[in-house]
Amino acid sequence: AAAEPRCPACAAAAERRLLEEAAKRQLLEKLRLRERPKLIHAVPRAAVARALRRLQAGGARRGPEEEEEEEERSYEIISFAEPEPRSPSGLGLRFQFSHTQDQDIHILQAQLWLYLRVPQDLVTSLTLRIFPAGGEGEVAGGNRTLLSEQQLRARGSGWHTLTLMPTLQSFFEGEGRTLRLELEGHGDGGDIMAMVNASWSHQPFLVAKARLREPGHHMAKR
């Protein structure tokens, strides 16, 4: 700033630029990001608002374990489903998480929120299967590891919450970054695709509460 010409307005502008750069650097460093994220696709505002309201309504109470380990940073992640081309037996919903190799992620809680549009007078039952999906094309056929399978009964339209905790923990320790869910309807459930993503303000999403430990954390503690 000293090199800048001596005028009050210039000094103020120089200070503003300096502080804006400092603010950017501090935020990226504290959020452990190398650069600001470039958003590949925008999530509909309605879906964001609905997910945040859901999160607030079903806000997880803090267990003693979380209170005791307060200094480790915790994250709450909402991941919106990206629909995939229809697979033979249902609908694939792709979620993407990513964390760098040197971060040890410990999942505390994980839930899937699914909105099913079912005619009022109909009761349908579904089987939900969860697979890790590696590269883009590794979807159809091929030997996939079944992470979890759950039965679901739906009477009329509404949100359904499924706990995925044990599944996600093993998934996160592996190499995979994409989680793939498949739904299969039984009886005259009609078209699963129509049921799940009837409108994009009811986009399925995954809520995970995770805790991040840096390498050498315990050494620092000692």
Binding site: E15, L19, E20, A22, A23, K24, Q26, L27, K30, L31, R36, P37, K38, L39, I40, H41, A42, V43, V48, A51, L52, E71, R73, S74, Y75, E76, I77, I78, S79, F80, F95, Q96, F97, S98
Partner: protein, 114 residues
């Protein structure tokens, strides 16, 4: 702790607010709308070492040490943050996931002389 006014030169807290719209970051940071990047600035004459913003007993102890050891010439004190508070951030990551986290010690609330 003191908040800087137009012409204060003693150690104080200068407030500065960066609006995320001004730096084009309001597309990926959902909340908050900006960041209060306060900072500490000003002189710390030795007789105010250890204040303000710290227990007055601490300042008295430091003041007595300075007098007793006659370190008026060599010792110096710096204007540093003495209290900070966390910042909760809700943002989109590169996969358009929404992430919420609380960053500890992010906003300077008070400054004092070390």
């Amino acid at each position: 702790s003191l908040r800087c006014s137009q012409n204060s030169n003693l150690c104080c807290r200068r407030d500065y607010y960066v609006d995320f719209r001004d730096i084009g970051w309001n597309d990926w940071i959902i909340k908050p709308e900006g960041y209060q990047i306060n900072y500490c600035v000003g002189q710390c004459p030795l007789h105010v070492a250890g204040s303000p913003g710290m227990a007055s007993s601490f300042h008295t102890a430091v003041f007595n040490l300075v007098k007793a050891n006659n370190i008026q010439a060599s010792g110096h004190s710096c204007c540093v943050p003495t209290r900070r508070r966390p910042l909760s951030v809700l943002y989109f990551d590169r996969h358009s996931n929404i992430v919420k986290t609380d960053i500890p010690d992010m906003i300077v609330d008070a400054c004092g002389c070390s």
